[in-house]
Symmetry: C2
Subunit: 201 residues, 2 copies
């Protein structure tokens, strides 16, 4: 049996990755790994759906027991990816989608170089600012910090295998599905098929 | 302006590439380069649509004037890709799809390494034989020659960037569209977008 494909998606806060991922997850048979964090839930966020909201103590316990695929400390909080379920699903041939902050994704590039890394950008920094303001959950000051963070993250997009722009939601959803679909047909992932086709002569 | 993407599609006779390409061409804004050949048209084939049917003299004249992107001699006939329109369309930013026999595609890999090469396989050699028999245009003897040719071609699929299987037509059409779409988002083709996004701060 083939191992599943590990798809790592990053993008600055406000790029729309959450909305895109929700739709892509509906479109196929994926395991979505919910990130863990020690930050407080935003209004409407549900534990175990948007994030696993952990205490600082519990999070550090996981780090110390090698239970995190990656973790990062960002704006005063831990963010990370619990390892166990990801590995189990990949071994069982199931594709796994991870949404990881850039610093975390860069670490996974080192430990899981066979994964496919996708960076989602907003169409422009101007549009990103508009989206963050529209969300209305954060102060002007926090938004400007997020913009600065976004700019430094976007500068790292060239470390990723694929770079996509979320200008129009429907197109962005189709784009991410295309990437996952096409990646499975790349030579390195599909060349085992050659023998399969030839065997049944 | 960005140059267009050059997409080179190969696959053994009977793999269904013609049908897949016809649908993919309808789905987007491509320039489809009609191959030239000196072989006789099969029933229903139209000059300038399926192939440009050329005399041996005319074909050799093009070869001698460097007017062919590639050409090959196969089963007693020339097959090749006239160069001029391909280059003109790419320069104008238009994506170009070429359907080329394997020997020709291998040559284009050398001269146009920035192109994307897609190999379409039948689900099995058994199924290929069934499809060629069903077509009913060729003798048993010719079909067995085509099968032998197909097997040696399929063994070269691992030279291509992408390998896809045409088991079910609708899926194969979507697969080829995914490849073209995803390829444009690969880092090397999309990283120019990073500056575009950052510029408009």
């Amino acid at each position: 049996m083939n191992k599943g494909l590990l798809i790592v998606v990053s993008g600055p806060s406000g790029c729309g990755k959450g909305t895109i991922l929700a739709e892509v997850l509906k479109s196929g048979n994926f395991y979505y790994s919910v990130s863990a964090t020690t930050r407080a839930p935003r209004p409407g966020e549900v534990d175990g759906v948007n994030y696993s909201f952990l205490t600082k103590e519990k999070f550090e316990e996981l780090i110390n027991n090698d239970g995190m695929l990656e973790h990062a400390f960002y704006c005063g909080n831990y963010y990370g990816t619990p390892k166990e379920q990801v590995m189990k699903n990949l071994e069982n041939g199931k594709d796994v989608i991870l949404e990881i902050e850039v610093q975390g994704a860069l670490k996974v590039m080192e430990t899981c170089p066979e994964a496919v890394f996708v960076f989602i950008m907003p169409p422009s920094v101007k549009e990103l600012r508009r989206r963050l303001n529209k969300r209305g959950t954060e102060s002007e000051d926090v938004i400007e910090k997020r913009i600065a963070q976004a700019i430094s993250e976007i500068k790292l997009a060239n470390k990723y295998n694929y770079i996509m722009v979320n200008g129009e939601l429907e197109k962005a959803i189709a784009d991410l599905i295309s990437i996952i679909n096409a990646e499975k047909m790349t030579r390195k992932r599909a060349e085992y098929l050659i023998n399969e086709v030839l065997e049944n002569a």
